[in-house]
């Protein structure tokens, strides 16, 4: 079972948070739960980062999350897993989460595999763009990875 969403920090009344993830993945069939939280850190490529703004093609992002989830479930032959994925859109301040991936599975190796697979594929396939903000009001879109066919 999957919950996948893009949360617009301007439009949405709520922010991405662990409590919702924990509630969603609660699973009596599961002996293992893993929470991955991607936070905004204060440096990148020797630059002092003050915050990050994300842009996203919301529908395609959610579709991509579902495709990656389906692939992972098949690849690792996992049954009765619960997965919660939310990514922020808009401005995210230093130290705040930009992505939460929570998984619950029967066994720990499945949970580790699933969590790692999801984040690694999201990084290279989900249409999300990151603009970093630096000191003195400077900013820059990060280079990114082409998904051109």
């Amino acid at each position: 079972m999957l919950h996948a969403a893009v949360i617009d920090t301007k439009k949405s009344k709520r922010k991405i948070n662990l409590a919702r993830a924990e509630k969603f993945i609660k699973n009596l069939h599961a002996g293992a739960s893993i929470f991955f939280v991607g936070n905004i850190r204060n440096s990148n490529n020797d630059k002092h980062v003050t915050g990050v703004s994300y842009d996203a093609h919301d529908r395609l992002v959610v579709k991509t999350f579902k495709e990656i989830y389906d692939e992972a479930i098949k690849k690792f032959k996992i049954k009765k897993a619960k997965v919660f994925i939310e990514h922020a859109k808009g401005y995210v301040a230093l130290g705040k989460p930009s992505i939460i991936i929570a998984v619950s599975c029967k066994h720990r190796h499945q949970a580790y595999n699933l969590s790692r697979y999801l984040i690694e594929k999201i990084k290279v396939r989900a249409p999300i763009w990151k603009k970093e903000f630096y000191k003195y009001k400077q900013s820059e879109w990060l280079k990114g990875i082409s998904i051109k066919q």
Partner: protein, 89 residues
Amino acid sequence: MKIKIVMHGNCRDIFHKQALQINFDKKVKVKDIRNKLIEIIKHKHLANKAYISLVKASAFCSQHDEIVNDNYLLNNDKIITIIPPIGGG
């Protein structure tokens, strides 16, 4: 044929818009849209190499939320989205 090209990421800053409306005389393929965007950059940004490379490396997404290649013909599509190189997380 009027096509709306929706922008994301760096493309919004390059074209200073969230979407461009462009008229095409004939039936349009994705490669025509890519070439038109490169033409605009040549005209408005003195052929900025980084911007041209970005458009060349970009994917395109149809109204049906499918990534489409350069030969995709926009039959009934009136909207297409440019997907510059991605990097979330």
